[in-house]
């Protein structure tokens, strides 16, 4: 059966229900109250039952209280007094008797069953109808590149929604009065409003709605961990899967870009003050965009030769195409933001020097210093930090070697140490370079994997193997100083530690060897010391990250703000953007007052 033959009854659809015998309607509408009225028999006694007419809403009113779990003896039509019980069917969930009514939906009359057990919320269609009609729209998946094909290229994996899928998915939203999703979003995008605009087929308007709060929707739609943020707070998620907010965001952003509907807002009130932003990652770009829209003159300093920070050097092409990053940045350029490449702040200009030329400074340099485990053999050839591996592949485009000059690290058997998103990115990149065997080594169990489930799932589909509860002890090299294998030790989970996760404890004498000819260490990053050398008065916490006032994100130096990984340690793109937003608002408030 083709996809388009399947019809959906949307969540909360208003049902018109009729008696199958006398064809009278059960619906009662009195002013605000909308109900389905029935008569029922309960313990030999006649009672009246009132049900909600909305699909999947289970408000039941009865004249006699009926306890949870008790079953009605009979359900009777109030007009013809005939029993509605259908003996040929039983409840799909609890096996109790069911009553049959007729509903009119999708321009036809359809038999519809309701379970008679109080508290059981089962309702269904006949087998024949079930194939063509779904009672709920399931969460729509994005079509994606086939796994056997995508491991041979570096193109993006999901293709994104088609407009039909997008409108189906948008139809699932309940348009809550007090939306949890908005709270869950670090930059508080007005999610219900943009979905409402999508339902009205105004995709352009929806994109503009998102851009009020989020300047990088095409990026966030792709790389935000929505399952922990907006989608985690979605009411639908309680019983079913939440609305795919990220996928919808991606759809409207892509639509706007592809249809060439991006418009640069005219900034009316120019403010004669200058803002310096250090680092062109997601946080820096947010500050730059916000401040430019307030009317300030903004200059962004980037140490590398390419803009975008982690979006460019870290996240691989197949997860976030670089053309999209460049497009989003070109929007800022048109807003009037100036970008200075190859500027390592702390060396070429210090924070103090910036404060001479600028009214406020935002530090969003990220946490870019890779951590190593400090075990034997880490300096062998083909042992990389994930930063080096991904920088070579993404920023320096080593996957196009020798067309590009940076050599491509390549191995037949690749081992990736760590369980975060960066580890998944490294493993999936390795698969694409033609490695036959890629193994992820993580010291805790599957439940503790910090990576997004979607990424773990994609990695497994592509053939990445997981060795869980395992930690490396040393690397063993060949005579030519290339890594040959990694010796590991098995772990077990002990008591929970400070982070609330169960601490992995090594099991003695459980060492074993995994062969590999390339190893990527993806165990996290720390703060980069460069900027602090020439700014000793910048207060830092015991981990070396910058201390800020959480209300304003201002540092110990007045008019110097900071946010993102350099304040919190490794986190997500959208959290950096959220920190940037707080700083931008505080900066504007402070500078405007002067």
């Amino acid at each position: 059966m083709a996809d388009q033959d399947v019809k959906y009854l949307k969540f909360k659809t208003y049902l018109n229900a009729y008696c199958p015998y006398c064809h009278e309607s059960f619906n009662v509408e009195k002013k605000e109250v909308k109900q389905l009225n029935f008569k029922a028999v309960y313990k030999g006694q006649e009672v009246s039952v009132k049900l909600s007419p909305y699909l999947d809403v289970f408000e039941i009113e009865t004249s006699v209280p009926i306890n949870e779990g008790e079953v009605l003896d009979d359900l009777v039509c109030p007009h013809c007094n005939k029993s509605l019980i259908n003996r040929d069917m039983v409840c799909g969930e609890c096996g109790n008797t069911v009553a049959q009514v007729i509903i009119s939906a999708l321009s036809r009359l359809i038999p519809f069953f309701i379970c008679l057990k109080r508290g059981c919320e089962w309702h269904g269609l006949t087998k024949a109808d079930e194939r063509r009609i779904k009672l709920k729209i399931p969460r729509q998946d994005m079509p994606e590149q086939d796994k056997t094909m995508r491991i041979h290229n570096h193109q993006e994996v999901p293709y994104g929604y088609r407009s039909e899928l997008a409108s189906l998915e948008a139809g699932r939203c309940l348009q809550c009065k007090t939306p949890g999703c908005v709270e869950g979003c670090p930059v508080n995008v007005d999610i219900p409003s943009f979905i409402k605009l999508m339902r009205e087929d105004d995709y352009d308007g929806a994109a503009k709605k998102i851009k009020e709060k989020n300047v990088l929707p095409a990026i966030c739609g792709r790389v935000c961990p929505q399952e922990n943020q907006c989608e985690a707070k979605c009411v639908l998620g309680l019983k079913d899967k939440p609305v795919a907010i990220g996928k919808l965001e991606r759809f409207v952003a892509d639509y706007e870009r592809k249809m060439d509907l991006v418009r640069i807002p005219v900034i009316k009130n120019k403010i004669n003050k200058r803002i310096a932003v250090v680092g062109s990652g997601p946080g820096g770009l947010t500050v730059a965009a916000d401040m430019a829209q307030f009317g300030y003159a903004v200059t962004v300093f980037e140490a590398s030769h390419e803009l975008g920070g982690v979006l460019t050097y870290g996240i691989p092409e197949f997860r976030l195409p670089k053309s999209i990053v460049q497009f989003e940045i070109s929007y800022l350029k048109e807003l009037g933001v100036r970008f200075e490449l190859n500027h390592v702040i702390g060396n070429i200009l210090t924070i103090d020097e910036l404060l001479v030329h600028f009214d406020a400074v935002y530090i969003g340099v990220g946490a870019g210093l890779p951590l190593f485990m400090d075990i034997e053999g880490e300096s062998l050839g083909n042992v990389f930090s994930s930063n080096e591996y991904l920088t070579r592949m993404n920023l320096m485009k080593a996957y196009k070697f020798p067309e590009y000059d940076t050599p491509m690290p390549k191995g037949n058997k690749v081992v990736v140490i760590g369980g975060g998103n960066v580890a998944m990115d490294s493993a999936r990149t390795a698969i694409r370079t033609g490695s036959t065997e890629v193994t992820v080594i993580y010291r805790r169990s599957r439940n503790e994997l910090p990576a997004r489930m979607e990424e773990v799932h994609h990695a497994e589909e592509e053939g990445v193997r997981f060795r869980l509860l395992v930690s490396p002890v040393r690397y063993i090299g060949t005579d030519y100083n290339m890594v040959k294998s990694v010796e590991c030790i098995r772990m077990e989970l002990g008591e929970p530690d400070a982070s609330g996760r169960r601490r992995p404890v090594p099991i003695e004498n459980s060492n074993f060897i995994i062969e590999c000819d390339l190893a990527v260490v993806a165990i996290g990053t720390g703060p980069n010391p460069i900027i602090f050398r020439t700014a000793p008065n910048l207060k830092r916490n015991k981990w070396g990250y910058i201390e800020v006032d959480p209300e304003t994100n201002e540092t110990s130096i007045p008019n110097v703000y900071a946010g993102g990984d350099i304040v919190t340690g490794s986190a997500t793109v959208i959290q950096a953007m959220g920190a940037g937003r707080i700083a931008a608002n505080a900066m504007h408030k402070k500078l405007k007052g002067k």
Partner: protein, 274 residues
């Protein structure tokens, strides 16, 4: 875009000197610091230590030996051509103090970097003894510049075609044996030379600084590709260096790590010829 103001070929064309217009970097860079450059869109990032600078006209001088794809590409550039990206200054500057008598040992292209550090030490008021060496007379660079800076200068060549016959370690040993007022030795050159100098000075217990040149990508501490073992601890050359206490550096490991990409270098060169 950074313009090449002047190009000069030295040592039979194997060593090239570029004066590049980069005013902001020239204003800030100190002896011992380096830059990272990328020639064009498809280029790789390579670190080069700055040999000299002129704040007034905004010029930095880099001197490099042609060893691989990128340096060969650089050689093909001429006066007025541009380099796409130059980022700097990077690394920690050399710690220059007034100590008394210091010996500056340089070999091959290392003399270029050594010369700026020697200059800084001389300006700080030290008595500077220079020992520079090369394979043969034609490959010796910057002799006149070093002569102008150093209070005493010894030149050695491996084949004896100029100056003393032999390696830089021989006159160094002689100095160390004869003079008791030597406070510090700075050695910059091929890894094997720095290793031997450090072996020698360790016997005499004289502090020795070396400038390391591992493989680097970003040069800002981000990739960890330039990790070196110093005092049995992992250090990142780009943010903790490039100058380290020579007695604590694990030279064997550095030598091995620097040899890792020789094969890829060949592939890249062959590709560019095609």
């Amino acid at each position: 875009m950074f313009q090449i103001v002047r190009k000069q070929e030295m040592a039979k064309g194997t060593i090239i000197r570029f004066d590049i217009s980069a005013p902001k970097i020239a204003a800030k860079i100190k002896a011992g610091q380096f830059i990272i450059l990328r020639v064009n869109e498809t280029g790789e990032r390579i670190p080069l230590t700055v040999a000299d600078k002129d704040e007034f006209s905004g010029i930095i001088t880099i001197i490099f030996q042609v060893v691989g794809k990128t340096t060969a590409l650089l050689r093909s550039l001429h006066d007025g051509d541009t380099i796409k990206d130059v980022a700097g200054p990077l690394g920690k500057p050399a710690e220059v103090q007034k100590l008394g008598t210091v010996i500056m040992v340089g070999g091959g292209t290392g003399i270029a970097i050594l010369h700026s550090i020697a200059k800084a030490f001389k300006e700080a008021g030290n008595f500077v003894i220079g020992i520079i060496g090369a394979k043969e007379k034609e490959l010796l660079i910057m002799e006149s510049e070093m002569k102008a800076i150093c209070d005493e200068l010894v030149v050695t060549t491996d084949d004896g075609s100029y100056g003393q016959l032999g390696f830089v370690t021989q006159p160094l040993q002689k100095y160390l044996e004869e003079r008791y007022d030597i406070k510090m030795v700075y050695a910059i050159g091929p890894i094997i030379m720095m290793k031997n100098v450090c072996g020698l000075t360790k016997k005499f217990d004289i502090p020795t600084m070396v400038s390391l040149n591992p493989v680097m990508i970003d040069g800002t501490g981000m990739c960890g590709g330039c990790r070196v073992k110093v005092d049995n601890k992992m250090k990142f050359c780009c943010v903790d260096g490039p100058d380290f206490d020579g007695h604590k550096v694990d030279f064997d490991e550095l030598e091995k790590r620097n040899a890792l990409y020789l094969k890829d270098e060949k592939i890249s060169l062959l590709f560019s010829i095609k």
